[in-house]
Structure formats: structure tokens, C-alpha cells
């Protein structure tokens, strides 16, 4: 049952075919068996998970029928969890136990889910390969020589390898969608403001959004139903009614206008990925959708603008890690400056320090106008591009990543790593919702397709994704190793 979707497990729990304790134990066993190889989890909460599962079973016996009651999940280790280690993949927080829960964590707790553990991630969510984690690389379940993508690599690998039924992730420039594509799972980045950021350790405040990583679009809808909504503790969260995202999954796609950005099918895109996405578009046409080319004129500027805005915000967001109040502090500081310097030099990894340097530089007196202000202008241009495109189409579809997962250690040049997110970053800059769903397998590795929607039009994206998954089975594909572990031929 561990390879089932949340919807299926939920039905089995409701029917009494299985208990939450049983399914939780099954996942814990699976983690024990595979996490040593995959390194998807930083922390596993064996005892508390079983207690929560027991409590869920008791609640069900008392008539509670919440859809996610008793479903085992994993949280990315960027969400603060009371009494459970929250490291953000960094030495800086290697010993940090939060005294409070993130709003997302609270919401899932209230929904009755079972926390299996905290998943590995790029340090402070800075990376596209999960190789910057202080707690070691995560391996791609399809091929353990390959990266799972990042920064939510642990969550994507855990879902792909059936170490959990569902997981949370966060996406600042593609950190849910790209690992979802690399691991062959469904990832969803909601509109900026849809999900509370309270308790989610900040990387770049104006771009960060939490979202689900699941085995299907329907599961993503179930998770979004729980995660979404106004939170007074987050001033950037938006006051809009939360619809039932599962309600519109089965809308027919006849007449749906799909925009295909020519800039996302240009040089640098691998032939296999292009073919897979074009095949998917053909599938949509069969379902009655109309395909239209759209022009995202300024999309070539998005990576540059992002690597000014995100590091600039990060440089300030990460200033609080100073060794004074919590987290890592260097040994025997001789004075304050020594404490700051060594704590931060030793506590942060290379990529985090690189981005703090870039951000500090971009905000410096005399450079602000040339970098930060200009990047904000580009951000508006990119948003305008989307607004224009969405006058003509309902969703925009293209590849999530230019290629399949690359080999661990193969990208040593930071800029080539930054270009990994070339199709995903613009979505964050514009604050839009977008999903990545599996769209094919090439050379034994999965590929992802990105579906971008209008602001707060999550329901439409889920509908478009779900319909595709009703007519194809790419989202059910597993690597041969995982299939074997599941006892399949």
C-alpha cells in the first residue's frame, strides 16, 4: 500500500482496510530499508509517528473522517517543528529544536496527519541538486548516481521511493518543481501569498512559497486544501477564500487554451524532454485543448534578476544566524568580531556564503540602483509578460527542466547550476502558481512538464494536471529499483 496515492490510502483507512498505525509502520520500515542509500531524511520520528498514528486511529474510531487523517507525511527540514530538530540542511542549525510549529505544520497536525520525519534539502534551500546539504547528498531513487534535484530533493526522493505518502516542499526559484521533475513525482508551487510562510525558514522572502510534493495531482489538491489560507502571522499571506481544490479536478478540457512559450523550447533544451512535452501537448489536443504559442519576451532576464533579488533578501534573512541566541557558535571566540566571523564561516557552507556575498554586494551603496533596483524592474517586466500571455490563454505549459537529472558532482560551476532553473524562476518572480508533473522517461530517468496558471488559479492547474494523469500513467512509473523494492516485477 505504500506506493499508493494519498487518495487511495485515505479510502483504505476510511474503509477500515488498513489502520494508520499499520501504514505508518510500513513507511517506517521502508525508511529503515532505503534511507541509508537515499539519505532523503535528516530526522526520522519513529516513536512520535506511531503515537500520532495511534491517535489518528482513535480519532477515526470516534467518528473523525478528515481526508488526511492518519496519512503519513514528511516535512522538508525548512519547516519549524516543535520538539523535532529543524536544521534547514545547515551546520548552523544542526542542533536547533524549534519551540514552535510552522503554520503549515500546525495545519497538517490539525488535519490529523502523521509526521514520519524531516527531509533533507539544500542548505537554506540554496541549490538545485541537494548537494549543498550539511547532512550529505540525497540520491535520486531512479539512479543513485544522479541528483534528486533541489532544494526539496529529500521530499521528492522520499515520495518517489515510497518513503512517505506525501511531503511538503518549498519553492523559491523551482525548488519544488525541479526535484519533482527529476524524481518523477508531482510538485506544486502555489501563488505567492496562498500558503503561510510563518515558521518556514526564510531564504528569499518575496519568492518563497510552500507547496506539496505528491504522487498525483489529486493528492496535491488534497494537500493544498489543508495548507492554503490566510494567516495573520504572515503579513504577505492573502485573504482569499480557499476553495476545495478537488472539486474541479474533473472539469473537461475542451476549449482549454494552452500557451506554449517559444522561449521555453529554445536552445539548451534536450531533445528527449522537448519530445516528451510535445507528446503531452498532443495528448491535450486530443482532449480538446487549443495550443497557442505565447511570447514571454523577457524570460531570458529571469535568472539574472533572480540571482540579484534572492541573494539580496537572503543576505539579510541569514544575518540572524550569528551564534548569539541559538544554533551553531564557534569554539572559544576571543571577541565579538571573532565570534561572528568564525561562527558564520564555519556554520554556513560554500553556496550559502557565496549567495550572502552576492546579495551583500548587490545591496551595497553605489551598486543598489545598478543591481537591486534594476532587478525589481525586470521583475515587473516578467510579470507583465505573463499578464499579457494570460489574456490569451488559460495555462502555460513547457518543460520543467531542460534535461533529466544529472550526475552527482557533475556541476562544479555555480552559474551552470543556476541555469538549472531557467524555466521555473520567472514563475516565482511573478508570484504565480505552477505545477510540475511527470511526462515521460528517457534513458531510465523521468522528465517533468511545467503547468503555469494565473494568479490564484491553482484549481485550473490541478484540473489540467489531473486530466492528463487520468489519460496517461507517467505519474505511476517507478524506477526498476523501487518497483523491485515494492515487490513488483
Amino acid at each position: 500500500m505504500i506506493n499508493s496515492t494519498v487518495a487511495e490510502i485515505s479510502a483504505a483507512l476510511a474503509a477500515g482496510d488498513i489502520s494508520s498505525v499499520e501504514i505508518t509502520q510500513a513507511y517506517l520500515d521502508r525508511i529503515a530499508a532505503l534511507n541509508g542509500d537515499l539519505n532523503a531524511f535528516i530526522t526520522v520520528c519513529e516513536d512520535s509517528a506511531l503515537q500520532q498514528a495511534k491517535a489518528a486511529d482513535d480519532a477515526r474510531a470516534n467518528g473523525d473522517d478528515s481526508p488526511l487523517l492518519g496519512i503519513p507525511l514528511a516535512h522538508k527540514d525548512i519547516f519549524c517543528t516543535k520538539d523535532v530538530l529543524t536544521t534547514c540542511g545547515s551546520r548552523m542549525l544542526h542542533n536547533f529544536v524549534s519551540p514552535y510549529n510552522a503554520t503549515v505544520v500546525e495545519l497538517f497536525n490539525s488535519a490529523g496527519t502523521v509526521l514520519l520525519g524531516k527531509t533533507n534539502m539544500d542548505e537554506f534551500a540554496m541549490g538545485s541538486s541537494n548537494e549543498t546539504s550539511y547532512f550529505g547528498d540525497v540520491k535520486n531513487p531512479w539512479n543513485t548516481e544522479c541528483v534528486p534535484g533541489g532544494s526539496s530533493g529529500g521530499s521528492a526522493a522520499a515520495v518517489a521511493a515510497d518513503l512517505c505518502a506525501m511531503a511538503t516542499g518549498t519553492d523559491t526559484g523551482g525548488s519544488i518543481r525541479q526535484p519533482a521533475a527529476f524524481c518523477g513525482v508531482t510538485g506544486f508551487k502555489p501563488s505567492y501569498g496562498r500558503v503561510s510562510r510563518w515558521g518556514m525558514i526564510a531564504f528569499a522572502s518575496s519568492l518563497d512559497q510552500a507547496g506539496p510534493i505528491t504522487k498525483s495531482a489529486e493528492d496535491a489538491a488534497l494537500m493544498l486544501n489543508v495548507m492554503s489560507g490566510l494567516d495573520k502571522k504572515d503579513s504577505t499571506s492573502i485573504d482569499r477564500p480557499v476553495e476545495d481544490f478537488t472539486a474541479s479536478l474533473n472539469q473537461p478540457l475542451k476549449g482549454l487554451r494552452i500557451g506554449v512559450p517559444k522561449q521555453h523550447f529554445a536552445e539548451g533544451l534536450s531533445a528527449e524532454v522537448e519530445q516528451a512535452v510535445r507528446d503531452a501537448l498532443a495528448e491535450y489536443e486530443k482532449l480538446g485543448a487549443i495550443i497557442k504559442e505565447v511570447d514571454l519576451t523577457n524570460s531570458h532576464l529571469s535568472v539574472s534578476a533572480y540571482y540579484v533579488v534572492a541573494p539580496a533578501e537572503a543576505s539579510a534573512n541569514l544575518s540572524r544566524f550569528d551564534g548569539v541566541r541559538y544554533g551553531y557558535r564557534c569554539e572559544d571566540p576571543v571577541d565579538l568580531e571573532d565570534m561572528y566571523k568564525r561562527t558564520r564561516s564555519e556554520g554556513f557552507g560554500e553556496e550559502v556564503k557565496r549567495r550572502i556575498m552576492i546579495g551583500t554586494y548587490a545591496l551595497s551603496a553605489g551598486f543598489y540602483d545598478a543591481y537591486y533596483r534594476k532587478a525589481q524592474k525586470i521583475r515587473r517586466l516578467i510579470k507583465d509578460d505573463f499578464d499579457r500571455a494570460f489574456e490569451e490563454v488559460d495555462v502555460i505549459i513547457g518543460p520543467t527542466s531542460p534535461h533529466t537529472a544529472f550526475k552527482l558532482g557533475s556541476k562544479s560551476d555555480p552559474v551552470s547550476m543556476y541555469l538549472e532553473d531557467i524555466y521555473t524562476i520567472a514563475v516565482n518572480l511573478a508570484g504565480l502558481p505552477a505545477a510540475s508533473i511527470p511526462v515521460g522517461v528517457a534513458n531510465g530517468m523521468p522528465m517533468g512538464m511545467q503547468i503555469i496558471g494565473k494568479y490564484f488559479d491553482e484549481a485550473k492547474i490541478l484540473n489540467v494536471a489531473h486530466q492528463f494523469q487520468q489519460h496517461t500513467d507517467w505519474h505511476k512509473q517507478k524506477s526498476s529499483a523501487i518497483a523491485a523494492a515494492n515487490g513488483e516485477a
Binding site: F79, S98, Y100, R197, I201, S235, E313, S319, R325, L363
Partner: protein, 476 residues
Amino acid sequence: MEWETVIGLEVHVSLSTKSKLFSGSSTEFGAEPNTQANIFDCALPGTLPVFNEEALRMAVRFGVAIGAEIGKRSVFDRKNYFYPDLPKGYQVTQLDFPTVGKGALTVTLADGSEKVIGVTRAHIEENAGKSLHEEFHGMSGIDLNRAGEPLLEIVSEPEITSAEEAVAYLKKLHTIIRYLDISDAIMAQGSMRCDVNVSIRPKGETELGTRTEIKNINSFRFVEKAIYSEVERQQEILEDGGRIIQETRRYNADKDITTSMRSKEVANDYRYFPEPDLLPVVIDDEYIAAVKAQLPELPDARKARFMDEYALSNYDAGVLVSSREMAEYYEIVASKSGDSKLAANWVSQDLLGMLNKNNLEITDSPIQAERLATLIARIKDSTISGKIAKTVFEAMITEASDVDAIIEAKGLKQVTDSGEIEKLVLEVIENNPAQVQQYKDGKEQVIGFLVGQCMQLSKGKANPGQVNELLREKMQ
């Protein structure tokens, strides 16, 4: 060479909101260290700010009170620097879009003249915590109770030309803030702090000289002294052909000198940028009008009314409105005693002198307004003389019993019995033949001496009017 001084003031005022600027923690003064610091104040990872709109209302209240432009869209920025008492590693403030824009204050100087001093802006920002360097054996302690408290930083135009004007400006600011009830503004407790920017230039020169900034001065008197001392220092340097270094200095009150803190030439780059965790604060005309409608009577208006309604001099009215509590006290005394002029004298001289001597605030006065009014009423109805009233006043400081009881118990009631007064007058005429003769020779002013003698003889209790009248009668 003749020099002129140019001064600009930056005043930080702690807004008296119940909770902090971006968190629900209490702002009560004097709590145990770190008992008023929640997870946001400690900058735990993942915590986010939520703006306290009470601080906005208070800032706008100040803005409309000084006739300033109000920013309908204010934007918070992060000011980045590392210090252990700054938990987030940045201070949230308002750089380009402050809540309060250009306004002005009118101050009255010692010679009675008035001067308008421009206010450049006033912005909302958060306070830092406190570093404690004692009792920690070579380490420092951090108290975050104050971290995140709302401040209003009020920046003046460089239009102040002397220490006297600077103090007048500060006192006026203090008065207005107290009237508005937006801060305790107690300099000694740090709820009002002042940074002074000082430069000098040859008289008539239009370019500004290089300025120094004297940080964190905590009394009006020290502001005055610090300016004198800094102007003198700059003057000496320039007259010796030297150059002023732009820097931050601190005032050492014991030695009455300013000393260098750090050079601004290697200044911090604060890398300001808009705070992405907060939305811009947008208000409309309706909001501003509502705040304006709730303004109390402000000192200038009250002063004009006092001059008009109570026939007070410009000076007396100015003294009485200088604090809201004193003005309110005065109005009770004036209305209940029935003599606004006498009330003004008693409040501004006797009462204020007594309070200053005992280092008391008017709200803690041992003599309440109603009692002082009764005392004045007793002068008016001739129960006691003005002079005896001073004795009664002294007694009222330590005795809580009512005014009439004190007069009675001490036997201070004025002698108005004409028989008794006649006895006094006859005795004085008999004892002072020379002065009586002088009077009869036409030296009119001698009457004063003779009245004085009678008063002395009666231990001040005789009614001076009656004495005067009877003396003249008997000497005819």
C-alpha cells in the same frame, strides 16, 4: 572671525503602544531581562513581523499635530548591521517613504520672540535591545525586552542656530508629544533620546560646515551644554587652521566635553532595501481626518485661549501650557478660586518652585489643585493675607488636612476686628514719632513702613487694607 552655528536634531521617541512594533510582546518599562521577548523578538528562524497599527495612528497623530505632510503609502526598509542586541541583524525602519513628511514647530525664545523650525520627517522604526557589560565576567549579556519597541524618529531641518533654540525646540517637541499622549518622553528613562548634529561656519557663509553628530544625550541641560562645548571645540580647531572630521561623538557630562566615538568616514554601509516581509502601509484622507478629529487642544491653541479667557500674559500662559498636566491643574485652580491671575502666580511660582525643589512631577504634587484653589479663595475673601497664605501653603505640603482646618489650627486667620487693628495702629504711631512726623510733612511713602510695622506686630495677621486706612485716619 565671527561664527554662526548650524544645528539639526534627531529625536527618538518611544511610542507608548501596549505591544511592540511587530510582535505581541508587552512594552512595559522595567521588567526582568528577556521576559518581554517572544520568538519573533529573539529572531527565531521562520518568524515574521506583523505591523502594530497603533504605532501608525500615533505617528499620524504627531504628523497632523505639527501640520506635516502625511505619507499615504509608507514603506518599511531593512537597515542591515551586526550587533548582538539587534537579533535579526537588521533594523526595520522607513527610509524613502516615511509616515510623516515635512512639518514645522513654532518655538518661543527667552526674549519672547518666536521662531519656526522645520521638521524634515518623522519615521517609524524598531528599537534595538540592550547590551549589559557588567556582571558577566568578560562576557556581555543581552536583554531583548526593548528590542522591537516602536520608535518615532523626528528629524529637524538644520535651521537651529543656538543651544538655546535647540533646547526650546526639544521642549516644544516634548510638550506636544505629551499632549498627544503618544509617549512618556522621559529623557532620563530613554523614552526620548536626542542626537545633535552640529557644524559652524563663518557668519554670512551659505555653505554648511562639516558636521559632527553627538549621540544619545539624555537631558535638555546636557543638550545645551554639549552644544556649547562642541561649538567651542570646533571653533578652536578652525581658528587654529584645522579641519573638522565628520564623526560621531559622545558627550561626557562629568568633564563637560565631547569625545570621538567613531569616524563616519569609514561608516557602515547599511544596505537598505524594502522589507519584503511587510506590505506597504496605505492610508487614505478619511483615516487622516479621523486622527485629526481626535486631536486634543494643543499647546499653542491652549496658550492663546489662556491669554484670552484668563487674561494672562504671554509669558504666564506660556509657562502654564508647557505641560498638559500643569495646564489642566491650572484650569482647575483658576475656575475654583475665582481669580485666574492669582491662580497663575501661585501655580507658576509657588507650586512649581515647590515641585522643583522636591523633584516632583505635578501629577505627584502633595497639594492638589482643589486645595490650592481654596487657599486662593481664602485670600480673596480676606480670611488670610497673601503673606500668611505662604505659611499656609508650606503647611499644606506636609499636612493633608483641608485649608480651613490648617488656618484655624495655626491661628492664622486674619485680624479684621477694627478694635484690635486700632490698638495696633495706635501703638505703632506712638512708637514711631519721627516717621509719623515725616508723613504729616507730606512724605506719603512712609505709610508703607508704618503698615509694615503694624503687620509685624500682628505677626502678619492684620488685614493690610484696614491697617492702611486706619493709619491715615489717625495721622490726620
